[in-house]
């Protein structure tokens, strides 16, 4: 009986406590940087696209919401001709980010992407590409990979020695 009255009194005193509710649109909640939200495509520190169109993200995607087509520029550098994410299917699992060998595809803490029309949730490459390097500011795939691209010959990458000319070693 006493405990019942005590319980009622404690509940009554909760009237004067601070509210737990975050009044969302006016008051933004804190979202951790590693939160899995809207997907973006990032760029090198040089400003070139990071994506090498390897299809790993499309392959790993459990709901098949990523579609892309690989192509090459005149120097042999691969890039996606189109890159399309259907966010009405995406489950924000983050597998694409894990699969990506060049840190191109990244998930951001943005979730405010409602649309009145379903087709508007299909994001094309120009919607996905951002101007910066995202979560990995110093990483530049082509500067650590051995592949020759425009402005960087073979052997000019970081921690890479120039290639050995095997013919010159001939007696």
């Amino acid at each position: 009986m006493v405990s019942l009255l005590k319980a009622m009194w404690i509940i009554f005193l909760h009237m004067f406590r601070k509210r737990e509710t975050i009044l969302y649109p006016e008051q933004k909640p804190y979202i951790p940087p590693r939160w899995r939200g809207r997907i973006i495509l990032s760029r090198d520190p040089d400003g070139a696209e990071r994506c090498v169109a390897c299809y790993l993200c499309a392959a790993v995607c459990p709901v098949d919401c990523i579609a892309l087509q690989a192509t090459q520029d005149e120097y042999g550098r691969r890039y996606p001709e189109f890159f399309r994410i259907n966010f009405s299917r995406c489950i924000f699992c983050g597998f694409c980010e894990e699969a990506c060998p060049t840190y191109a595809i990244q998930l951001t803490p943005d979730f405010e992407m409602c649309e009145y029309k379903r087709p508007n949730l299909v994001y094309e490459k120009e919607d996905l590409l951002i101007s910066g390097p995202g979560k990995y500011p110093d990483y530049n795939f082509y500067h650590v990979a051995g592949l020759a691209i425009k402005g960087k010959e073979k052997g000019e990458a970081e921690n890479e020695t120039p290639p050995v000319d095997i013919r010159s070693l001939l007696p």
Partner: protein, 318 residues
């Protein structure tokens, strides 16, 4: 002729106030529950979320009026009406102020007890006609709970009747001019509170609709306005029990300075808020605990209270 028009006007005004209050209670209860659970409750629609009430009403009135094909149609439709009618009829005997009441019955209290017994039919028939095992279980629980708790509800009120010497609610209020009955009839008050909660099927005695085991109990199959009537019936039940506590134990309209109607509504409102506080505080007992508490604790207490009050009244020679 003029008297009849005036009387009809008063009755219609009471009806309007009651229905408006029960609609407003939807908002009030959600806000108060929020307040006691460290959140806000509805606060978006209109100022303080007050437009939530019209929004809910528009929604529930425009919903499809549907009855499941397997249900017993006539009974299914009649059941929600019964609860509204019986609860609203109970208000007929409640004096809101001197002269402001629908009927001045000399057996007012008995009339209320009869009507509250009749309201069980609504739940039992609703659960029965739904042809759903959960609703039938809910109806079964409701009938058993109401029957058990009605016994000592009536007995707890007899102390008040003895002190006032009348079943007429107006005479009972007048008899409290010197001392509110909550003092000499404290035990009766406690017993009536418990019985009142069981009668209005509110938490902690909402076993007929226990969500976590019976989905929604007796109104599983109900939707639209038919569900709305059960809902309004429940809220009207809260107002009814609060009004009765005020009338029987807290001096009804009696009070200094303010006009009698205001006093009545202030007291009733306080008890309505208290109903919500109880809902926020307590958990639901098990079904067997509920019944054994009713029969083994409350009934003997009510009988003891009756015997002692009777002895005191007899000894005082009134």
């Amino acid at each position: 002729m003029k008297g009849i028009i005036l009387q009809t006007g008063v009755a219609l005004a009471i009806l309007g106030v009651l229905v408006a209050m029960s609609a407003g209670l939807i908002w009030l209860e959600r806000r108060l529950l929020g307040l006691w659970q460290d959140r806000y409750g509805p606060n978006r629609a209109g100022r303080l979320g007050l437009l939530q009430v019209p929004a809910d009403m528009i929604k529930i009135f425009t919903k499809e009026d549907w009855a499941p094909p397997f249900a017993d149609k006539p009974v299914f439709i009649a059941a929600p009406a019964v609860i509204m009618v019986t609860v609203l009829l109970s208000f007929a005997v409640i004096p809101f102020a001197p002269g402001v009441a629908v009927a001045d019955l000399n057996i007012g209290l008995l009339f209320f007890l009869a009507m509250s017994s009749l309201s069980v039919y609504s739940i039992v028939l609703g659960g029965w006609a739904s042809k759903n095992k959960y609703s039938l279980l809910g109806a079964l629980r409701a009938s058993c709970q109401m029957l058990s708790y009605e016994v000592f509800m009536g007995l707890s009120l007899m102390g008040v009747v003895m002190l006032a010497g009348s079943f007429n609610l107006r005479d009972i209020v007048e008899a409290q001019r010197d001392l509110w009955f909550c003092v000499p009839q404290f035990a009766g008050l406690i017993i009536f509170l418990v019985a009142g909660f069981a009668e209005s099927r509110r938490l902690p005695f909402d076993l007929p609709e226990a969500e976590n085991e019976l989905v929604a109990g007796f109104h599983v199959e109900y939707s639209g306005m038919k569900f709305g009537m059960f809902f309004v019936g429940e809220y009207l039940g809260i107002i009814l029990i609060s009004a009765l506590i005020t009338t029987l134990f807290f001096g009804g309209w009696l009070g200094p300075v303010l006009p009698p109607v205001v006093w009545f509504f202030v007291k009733t409102f306080a008890f309505i808020c208290w109903f919500v506080l109880i809902r926020a505080s307590y958990y639901r007992p098990r079904y067997d605990q509920l019944l054994s508490f009713g029969w083994k604790v409350m009934l003997p207490l009510a009988l003891l209270n009756l015997a002692i009050t009777g002895g005191v009244v007899l000894a005082a020679g009134r």
